[in-house]
Point group: C5
Chain length 265, copies 5
């Protein structure tokens, strides 16, 4: 019954119907931001403050409405994806994935979010920054493989999302380019069977964080994802990995309204 | 005397008699969830917030009743086991072991739990996710051994339970399949003498957490369990283990009502 | 003057005279628990909550009286030693060493302690579990040495106590039994000169915690203890030690009443 | 609208126009402090206390005014740069870079800051100390390269700033001077292409902190900075690095008034 | 102006003039404690609780007066030095260095301090224990060098003090005595040029803490200290060091009254 009441109130303030603000704003070119090289990707995870559980419904709604306003305003310029980590990861409760042409735009969004009414409920639990680069498909693959790799992965609504930060060891960087390329070819081949059900995106982080890469996955079939990781642990390149995870973030992708609905309860 | 009063009150609200809700719900097929491959296992540990110790009995009962409601509701779909860690482990006070066909069902339960009245008393202390797979009994064992391995382990009521997360090193994964199988045979042989008194279950975690495996044990004879671990430390496969424990969770298995009674005091 | 007032009040409530409860209870066979194999030893360290320093004397006395009651009640079944760590270790303020035939009895005591009025002042700072085993004196020692090793160590009242957890590396466990025995003989010889002034007790922990051993020492001569550790760092067996301490707990042994008096001030 | 109100109030108290105090003070010779050897550089990072988000605007303004006063007073003697980390780094919200002829002057500033009204909002998140030394340009470079290295790097207003602490391993220090010099030459050559757009400054830390070096970067082109780090990971000297980052601090450079304006919102 | 008011009040309560208590007490033989072997040295670091910044001046003065009383009372028996870490180290705000013939006397002081009114403002940030031993000057040095080493180091008032804990690896302890002595000779030679301006004192910690040594330095010339550490990183013995710092504590030495004055502001 509590749940029904939440939905009524949310509908009243327009949170569920999505009418709030949208017409007035021009959305950033999300597709471009998510596909082009040179774009920065930031993963910002937050825990909910202990007070959150003690606040009454109207207060929660007011704070979530503030969050909604900030997200929608910044979506004019940057792409923002949301994930619910609570219940699957112990590092944080919610995760924002932000794509922006300049990291200062990401910073503005996150500062505005923390300065908003909702900010007092959010405890920073980790920020990772990376940059998308042109995918340098390893040469020498047959055309069919190249076509397969270019085809989009598919999954249903609200897929699972997994973020695994990676740091290579000094030996990796000291290898000559050819040896690294050969190992990356083996890596790509091992991943190929899972391309259809597990979507991957790679971010380069060296210098922007204590990482070399952020690997991001979306899938509706967690078992396939697990098998993919097992395959990748078995190729030679994995032996040059100094850090794999720590943390591994596992959650479910949510629309802004779905996430708000979950948090309001 | 306080203890007697607690029991009276608990009986009054039906917490001890178990009448609450059960008739209306259809339980998940617990046996299937605990035995079949492809099922996800999640270990969620919580500490009790500092405020908990300061709350009066009616408040505690109200919050525990809320917890009971959430657990029973979700037991329609998922299997939930409970453990008291307090007094034996310093990492957390209580532990939930959850088996579900989909991790999103586990997430729903844990989100509902944290959104419930009891949620404000629970501080997340760690979540580990894994997946049950078909036990690939190492070939080459005599029939008697195979039969022994298939026989159920036995223990009395409220056994001790131990959870040990494991991460293998890169060398392990780089070994060819045969060598790994030979070492797993040695591992299984070393464990055989303890099969009757120590129940084991294995979860595969690669990619779902910063782990490769979660090993779970139940026993009424802790000394046998200790001897089992000593035996496993001596086989060759142990030298490929990068992380063993950290944390090791040790507690006692409790029914929902038993756990509530302990926490209410 | 404050100190005098404390003593008066403590005497009034019978805390210092020890009349509280003792006649009615039958003490556990402490000597047996501390000397026999198969007994479990648990080290539970607690910090005092920040609020403790702000409470007035009557409140402190009330809470300490509650603690005294819980300790005395459980002493019927288990052996409980107390230590003051504050001022010598930064990991915790007080330490309980508990010996019990079953770890579930230890758990009951610690749960009761945390559920008592005193519980709200105690912040868990670490629990380590181990098991006493028959001391397998290395064969081949001359009779005089064996006799020396069996003789009890001596120290004055309120000795220093030191707890050092130990984890051996995988290479250690992979050694054959003979090589390990030879190294343990060297280890025992190195410790011999300190046997008279430094009392030692060993607990086996594999699987019960993230440890292999808990080593416990009592001495009135800290300098001898320091020399003993230096000697042990120099024998070959030490090179197979992966973790030595972390934490090292150093404190002074106190009777229940002495500890209460110190905390009441 | 809230933002506009903030600006009005800030202007009223003179925070934005910068009239406060400046005429009466003689600034430290900032250029000298930032360029000469023997000067100490300290990086002090702070998080904002959780209460900060809950304070009303006048309180925030009062506290920020106090901070402004302390910074301006100490700028008579030491050079103070300010950075906004929030939204890009998870380790802290703001960062002070302080250059002083004596570390005790830096200590006085930071103690005054923490003793000021603003102090109660600042949670220490890390301090790193180092010393500037005469840049010992590796001999053997052609004149043109030497000239290039001496030319100032350029960037626009409010550049990104990155701080990466470094610890070399024992092998590095055990190398003879010639081998180290040869590797540093390779290091310098790898960095050369990025000299124009990425400004670097090196601080020597051995003994002043758990570090050997603090490397500091300013740039308007983060992509160039990322490429620079990738280049430096590939030279031989990188294999003697035991710690690189942990934390890596990434933020944007702000004037005192800009930072105050951001925090006031 | 606030600062002036503090000084007036402090003078009034006798904090600055030092008349409080001194005549009535007999000081411990400080010189003996600081120079003789067999004496225990303890480094106890504390942070100031967050509440401290919010208390009014009279409350602060009352609490600091309590601290002054405890320190002066125990100075009859033990030697207590004080340091301000705030602003230079992120691990703590103040540091006590205590020399005592028995660690139980140190414990009594620190327990009294935490039980005093000031105790509620102090958050334990680390305790390290060690023991002074007879300096075994490496044989074979020319007489002039021996004389130089025995000469006292000099520095001005309120010097910088640095504390660096050290743990050697197992290989170090496994070396035969001669090899260790030869390396220590090289170590001592490397340190010689800095003997005049950097005062050193060594404490042996094995078993008393998770350390083997605590090295303590005092200097007015930080640059010399930095050069000394660089020299020590280059000798062979440094390669047997498993932990160097973590934490490195850097602060300034203060008299009791100076420290109180700084904290009162």
């Amino acid at each position: 019954m509590i749940q029904r009441r939440v939905i009524v109130v949310l509908a009243f303030v327009g949170l569920l119907t999505g009418v709030w603000g949208s017409p007035a704003h021009t959305a950033a070119d999300r597709d471009k931001l998510l596909s082009e090289p040179g774009v920065y990707g930031t993963f910002a995870a937050f825990g909910l403050a202990e007070d959150w559980a003690k606040q009454d419904l109207p207060t929660r709604i007011a704070h979530l409405t503030a969050m909604k306003g900030v997200v929608e305003q910044h979506r004019e310029k940057i792409a923002i994806d949301l994930y619910l980590l609570r219940g699957l990861s112990d590092h944080a409760d919610i995760l924002f994935r932000i794509h922006a042409a300049e990291l200062r735009d990401t910073q503005k969004f996150l500062v505005d979010l923390q300065n908003s009414l909702m900010g007092r409920n959010l405890k920073g639990a980790g920020i990772m920054n990376g940059m998308a680069k042109k995918a340098n498909y390893v040469p020498g693959f047959p055309d069919q493989v190249k076509a397969d790799l270019k085809a989009a992965s598919e999954h249903g609504p609200n897929p699972y999302a997994i973020v695994i930060p990676i740091r290579k060891n000094a030996e990796w960087w000291a290898l000559d380019q050819e040896k690294r390329a050969a190992m990356m070819k083996e890596h790509t081949e091992a991943a190929l069977p899972y391309h259809k059900t597990v979507k991957r995106k790679l971010y380069h982080s060296s210098g922007l964080d204590d990482l070399d890469f952020i690997t991001y996955f979306e899938t509706s079939k967690l078992e396939d994802f697990h098998s993919l990781i097992l395959s990748l642990e078995r190729v030679k390149e994995f032996q040059y990995t100094r850090r794999f995870g720590h943390p591994t973030l596992l959650g479910t992708m949510k629309s802004l309204d779905e996430l708000i609905e979950t948090l309001a309860q």
